[in-house]
């Protein structure tokens, strides 16, 4: 196993608008969302970022996907810097979060062709890939239904299929099972396990302990933008449960449990 993603001391601070300050009850104009965060991920493993709401998980993953830029620090994806070579990085990753929407007007079939051509996949290969992915997620029966008319679970499966259309070596999913029923959620986690078997690097974020325990080989616990613990699951938990460890870390970081 070799390191494919290397995150070095990432920092990200957001300027809050007045409205946002009110909503979040923040006193400062600036919010440090990610605070000198470092970790790495290797091929053939699932790495999980575990943390409470607002910990900075999505922000970290968006920096890796080059959607937003870090203020400090850098991340290397297959050796390419997210800051200096964002296009090379985007060619090598598949990224999925709930903020990425598909256009309601188009059918999965059309969208597949559209993204295949954006990624420069030639039509024969694209057709094979479509059969494979649509078959795996049961999209084939809905391939001519406009996205607007798909159920939210089916929409998510279509987004998932489209995000890995180019068979990337590194897959980054933000809360992959959020909003899915148990059956669909299982289809997704099984798929992630298969991808791991085939040697891909998978980075997910979650606030659900059971997913982290079941799925992840290594995890990083983020609290308030900082890495509170990082390593193999067994190394972090020792004798106690992941939940207990988490609550202890949370209190150590100054968090208050109600």
């Amino acid at each position: 196993m070799s390191v494919t993603v290397e995150v070095n001391a990432l920092c990200k601070t957001f300027e809050l608008s007045k409205k946002q300050m009110k909503i979040e009850g923040a006193k400062e104009r600036r919010k440090v969302a990610v605070d000198h965060l470092s970790f790495d991920a290797r091929d053939g493993e699932i790495f999980g970022l575990l943390g409470p709401n607002g910990a900075g998980k999505t922000t970290t993953l968006r920096i890796l996907a080059t959607l937003i830029k870090a203020d400090e620090g850098d991340a290397l994806v297959n050796g390419y810097s997210v800051a200096k070579n964002p296009e090379k990085v985007r060619e090598r990753i598949g990224f999925l979060t709930s903020e990425l929407k598909q256009e309601d007007f188009f059918t999965p079939n059309y969208l597949f062709g559209f993204f295949a051509s954006l990624y420069g996949i030639e039509s024969g290969a694209a057709k094979k890939r479509k059969e494979e992915l649509f078959g795996r997620f049961g999209i084939d029966g809905f391939s001519e239904v406009k996205v607007a008319n798909l159920s939210s679970g089916m929409k998510q499966k279509v987004s998932l299929a489209l995000s890995i259309i180019h068979d990337p070596g590194i897959i980054i999913f933000d809360e992959p099972t959020n909003g899915l029923d148990v059956i669909t959620a299982k289809a997704v986690t099984d798929f992630l396990a298969d991808l791991k078997e085939s040697g891909k690097t998978i980075i997910i974020s979650t606030h659900i302990f059971s997913i982290a325990e079941k799925l992840c080989d290594r995890i990083g616990i983020i609290i308030d933008g900082k890495m509170a613990a990082f390593g193999r699951l067994g190394e972090i938990t020792g004798e106690s449960s992941l939940e207990d460890v988490f609550f202890r870390l949370y209190e150590e970081a100054g968090g208050i449990l109600l």
Binding site: A65, T66, L67, I68, K69, E87, R90, E91, F95, E99, L100, K101, Q102, E103, D104, F105, F106, Y110, F114, F115, S117, L118, Y119, G120, S159, L162, S163
Partner: protein, 389 residues
């Protein structure tokens, strides 16, 4: 990746032409609306100016010499009411309140005309009261004035002007053409702008509002390719939309002017068409790039459209500068985007276009749009702009 631009363009076309609602609301309806509106305005204007059929004009006459009414040839044209000078003020009120269409007051010395000798001094003065706001009153006024003038000329005639035949050497078609040449720059600029406004806001602010633009931004597509693909395809669609509104207005303009002229009112040669096309295309590129940048800043389609409104006023004001023909042939002025379009359209229609100035205009508009593409590409990679909520 060169194919990326084509891929983005194809998607935009499919999005637009595949959606009946979009095609009908921005391609078919505006042209139809303009046609119906102008035709309606034209006929409403005509009916405002004309007297309904079968109506007999009523006029009051004070002090009119016996037999003059028939001599003037007004029998059957106007219904006469003979009144006395005492009721003058009351009669004026009746003209105001449309009871009478006109009131003619003859002077006591009207009979003197029988004895007039040259040189003429202190001729009798006939007073005709009317109400110019009423079509009937205006009609009665001009009938009586015409009849009296003819009567006068039959008595004392020194010379005639244009007594018989058609002297205006401009044909109806040419008059229509002149009016079209006057209206077209402002209309064309307005249609090019409204087309761009509708298309660019929907595609860029709309994608931002619905969160589909981020999906494109995580693919390896270059930001500049995305900007180019969007601007090219949106410009072509907007051009098509303005074409239908322009056609609609060209077809209804003769009706708006009340001229019974056909579409051949204005003689446009193929070379003029080619120049008009080049100018329109380069202008719409400018409009689309401006509206795209505004749409990328805006958080929603509505916001983008609101920002576009003041610009629309500016565009129309610029369009008005071309109403009375090209202002100048100074090539430097043809380097100012949009203003150069107005001047060029105006010059083309007046058959005064110079190849140099048209080329300068097209080149300057294209350069301006290229800067727009660069700006849009930079905005696509700016997280503060793309993900502002």
């Amino acid at each position: 990746m060169k194919g990326a631009i084509a891929t983005v363009m194809k998607k935009e076309f499919k999005r637009f032409f595949g959606d009946f609602r979009l095609v009908s609301s921005s391609l078919i309806l505006p042209g139809l609306m303009v046609y119906i509106m102008y035709s309606f305005m034209g006929s409403a204007f005509l009916s405002f100016l004309s007297v309904e059929e079968g109506y007999i004009l009523k006029a009051a006459f004070i002090n009119m010499p016996q037999g003059l009414f028939s001599e003037l040839g007004l029998d059957g044209v106007i219904e006469p009411h003979y009144e006395s000078i005492e009721s003058l003020e009351m009669l004026k009120e009746s003209v105001k309140s449309q009871e009478y269409d006109a009131l003619a007051v003859f002077p006591d010395n009207f009979g003197d005309i029988e004895a007039i000798v040259f040189p003429v001094k202190d001729v009798p003065n006939v007073e005709i009261f009317y109400n110019s706001l009423e079509a009937k009153s205006s009609a009665a006024y001009s009938i009586i004035v015409d009849a009296l003038t003819m009567y006068e000329e039959s008595r004392v005639n020194l010379f005639d002007i244009n007594k018989a035949g058609e002297y205006n050497l401009a044909t109806d078609d040419e008059i229509a053409g002149f009016t079209i040449a006057m209206m077209l720059p402002i209309l064309l600029i307005m249609f090019l702008f409204t087309g761009s406004l509708a298309i660019a806001t929907e595609s860029i602010a709309g994608e931002k509002e619905r969160g589909t633009i981020s999906t494109l931004l995580v693919t390896p597509i270059k930001r500049s390719d995305l900007a180019l693909g969007k601007i090219f395809s949106l410009a072509l669609i907007a051009l098509l939309c303005s074409l239908t509104t322009t056609l609609g207005s060209l077809m209804s303009l003769p009706k708006l002017m009340g001229a019974e002229s056909d579409g051949a009112a204005i003689k446009i040669t193929p070379a003029m068409y080619a120049n008009l096309f080049l100018i329109s295309l380069s202008t719409i590129l400018v409009f689309i790039s401006i509206m795209s940048i505004i749409s990328a800043f805006a958080k929603s389609v509505k916001e983008a459209q609101a920002y576009g409104m003041p610009l629309m006023v500016v565009a129309v004001a610029l369009g008005a500068s071309g109403m009375f023909g090209p202002n100048s042939q100074n090539p430097v002025l043809y380097a100012i985007p949009v203003y150069n379009s107005v001047q060029s359209i105006s010059a083309i229609l007046a058959a005064k276009a110079s190849a140099l100035n048209i080329s300068i205009a097209v080149a300057s508009n294209t350069l301006f749009s290229a800067l727009g593409v660069v700006a849009l590409a930079l905005m696509f990679s700016n997280e503060k702009i793309m993900f502002s909520k």
